[in-house]
């Protein structure tokens, strides 16, 4: 409860601290505008038109459905990767044998290009939800797994000895040593995994689905509608920025505060 109150108390200043990032984004958009003036609408639509298209999406029922569908797929896939990756990563961290065994497998999973997973998923599950969600899970899982494993493996032996010597209860050990340490590793991994999910879901939909933002992107590409294509990208990036910086970052900041 104290933790939540602290996050809420710091939230207004946290939001205010985003002005610098907003300024950088506006400068980037200015550069985008210059690109539009050089290359024209077909290659690079104007930011103003693109943002108008984004606003227009909210009045387009089909596109709204696509957006909701994509976000649902990304969230389901990410949630699955989070649960599986965290559980297995923690186990691998606690047992040295499991850690040694899992490392090469994780390397293989990380090294495998997501596009290859999309192709395999299409063969295994056909077009549709399962292929997309599977690709998201398999691409995000290794990131979460490694974070969880690292968090568990790096707890200092001296600290363990200290809590033992003080005779702390299991719950006290968990709340004062294991949880803060592991969480400070696993949480950034979750954030990275979330970013990966957001990217992969669009790519998977583009190739293996007839609905969702990815599929809408494919339609925009076939119709050479660069404005809609860019507007869809803006929606995805905007929602990711919102989740990562507005929802998760304040928690991350609070979780990692003990390091200072």
């Amino acid at each position: 409860m104290k933790f939540i109150l602290k996050v809420l108390k710091d939230f207004p200043w946290f939001l205010w601290s985003g002005w610098g990032a907003v300024a950088s984004i506006f400068l980037f958009i200015a550069l985008w505008d210059v690109g539009y003036q050089f290359y024209g609408d077909l290659v690079l639509p104007s930011p103003k038109e693109t943002f108008s298209a984004v606003i227009g999406f909210f009045g387009d029922e089909d596109l709204m459905k696509d957006m909701v569908l994509t976000l649902t797929r990304a969230i389901i896939g990410f949630a699955a990767a989070l649960v599986i990756g965290s559980a297995l990563g923690l186990m691998a961290g606690f047992f040295a044998t499991a850690s040694i065994m899992s490392r090469p497998i994780v390397t293989i999973l990380v090294g495998m290009p997501p596009i290859a997973w999309v192709v395999l998923a299409m063969i295994w599950f056909g077009m549709g939800d399962t292929s997309v969600i599977f690709t998201v899970v398999i691409a995000s899982f290794p990131i979460v797994f490694v974070g969880a494993m690292q968090g568990t493996r790096t707890i200092e032996g001296e600290l363990k000895e200290m809590v033992d010597s003080f005779g702390l209860s299991l719950w006290q050990k968990f709340t004062n040593l294991y949880f803060p340490h592991i969480f400070s590793y696993i949480f950034p991994a979750w954030v990275s995994g979330l970013g990966m999910s957001w990217k992969i879901v669009v790519m998977a939909e583009l190739l293996s689905s007839s609905d969702g933002i990815g599929a809408a992107l494919a339609v925009a590409r076939s119709q050479l509608d660069t404005t809609v294509a860019l507007a869809l990208v803006v929606v995805m990036i905007g929602s990711l920025l919102f989740l990562e910086y507005i929802v998760l970052e304040p928690i991350k900041k609070e979780v990692e505060a003990w390091r200072d």
Partner: protein
């Protein structure tokens, strides 16, 4: 509250120095506040058509005088007072030398109002030489400082000199650049100078107030935040100068808006809350007004016709410029006369009046039919705080320092 703890290392040996020439800010503020009031009355006569020494270039000379007549006096006060403090080896400018500089400023103002009688090159020579004198005095410590701690101030002043020279060149027909475009750039550079000055003023004022109140925290005016704002404003100035109301300028305006608001994060300290301290509110209001200027101009370019720029620019001139001058005058008049910083109802009223004057002036954009009344009302309200300042502080400027320190 607090008084200044940092001083020059050496004070000149000159004898029989009158108090009003004992330190750079004294004669400047003694003359500047009445001049601001006088000049407002003069401009009222000019706009009413009673007198007009400026021919068809009324607007150009009006902007010029506020930037390089009033504005330069403020810059002089900051430089002559701040440099011996920032570089303690620098000997303050006092006595006869200071008197000559002030006479040059007065000559500049007189020549300006007699512009229809005097040759333009003479007016240019007098006014440009004043800025040359200021730069020459500050050049060695500020620009040649091996650590380059405050060199940006020197470069900004040099840029102002170039821009002023360019303006006169344009008015004399030597350069083809429209004078108004040059003045818009000059206002942008003035905003950069204000930020550079504000960074240093904030550091001194907030820390001294906290120290005085026994607060166990430290305020830092973070350079990266100011640099981002300065970069955005500089980009705005350059793009506006070369490409007018290009749509990219709209986004840059919004970037400047966000970057300036970002500076307010400095007031969020780790252990202490200072955001509702009077001086924090006054100083942060300057940033809010400046941010509004760029934000409204950016939005107008993107989502309006780009025709309201002139009105929104008054967030910068009437607002940020006016308030920062008022605040610097008040702070310096307390701190550098050896007194503790204080806030009172008159100060609150003055800050509110500058806000009201700004909003009235900007609102002409939306109520053009009431333009005349709003112009007059805004001008009257804007000069009132400087009258209040003079009434409250002229005694301090004419009395020796309360703490017995020379200067």
């Amino acid at each position: 509250m607090a008084n200044a703890t940092k001083h020059y290392l050496h004070y000149p040996e000159e004898e029989n120095v009158p108090i009003y020439l004992a330190y750079g800010f004294r004669p400047i503020f003694l003359l500047l506040a009445p001049y601001i009031i006088l000049t407002a009355i003069m401009w009222a006569f000019v706009w009413a058509g009673v007198v007009n020494p400026f021919g068809n270039y009324l607007l150009e000379w009006h902007i010029y005088e506020y930037l390089f007549g009033v504005g330069l006096a403020g810059i002089m006060a900051f430089v002559f007072t701040g440099v011996p403090e920032l570089f303690p080896g620098v000997v303050p400018l006092i006595g006869k030398k200071l008197k000559y500089v002030m006479l040059l400023w007065i000559a500049g103002r007189i020549s300006f109002w007699m512009i229809d009688i005097l040759p333009l090159f003479l007016v240019a020579l007098i006014n440009l030489s004043l800025l040359v004198v200021v730069i020459a005095w500050a050049f060695k410590p500020v620009v040649l400082d091996p650590l380059q701690r405050h060199s940006s101030l020197g470069y900004a002043l040099a840029t102002m000199l170039i821009v002023e020279g360019w303006f006169y060149g344009s008015m004399m027909g030597i350069f083809e650049t429209p004078a108004l475009e040059i003045l818009k750039a000059a206002l942008g550079i003035m905003m950069i100078l204000l930020l550079l000055a504000l960074r240093r003023v904030n550091m001194e004022v907030i820390n001294e107030i906290m120290e005085d109140e026994g607060m166990d925290d430290k305020f830092f005016a973070k350079p990266f935040r100011y640099n981002l704002a300065i970069f955005s404003i500089a980009l705005f100035v350059a793009v506006e100068f070369f490409y007018g109301t290009n749509s990219a300028l709209g986004w840059i305006g919004l970037a400047a808006f966000a970057a300036i608001l970002g500076i307010l994060n400095d007031y969020n300290l780790e252990f202490e809350s200072i955001i509702f301290k009077p001086y924090t509110i006054y100083l942060s209001s300057i940033l809010v007004l400046m941010a509004c200027g760029y934000g409204f101009m950016g939005a107008d370019i993107l989502y309006g016709q780009g025709t309201l720029q002139n009105h929104f620019r008054h967030f910068l001139s009437t607002g940020a410029f006016g308030l920062s001058f008022y605040m610097v005058m008040v702070i310096v008049s307390y701190v550098h006369t050896g007194r503790k910083l204080q806030s009172n109802y008159w100060m609150v009223l003055s800050v509110v009046l500058i806000f009201v004057a700004t909003i009235l002036r900007v609102s002409i954009a939306y109520f053009p039919e009431a333009a005349s009344s709003l112009y007059v009302l805004s001008s009257i309200i804007w000069v009132l705080p400087f009258g209040v300042y003079y009434w409250q502080f002229y005694r301090y400027l004419l009395l020796p320092r309360a703490d017995g320190v020379k200067g």
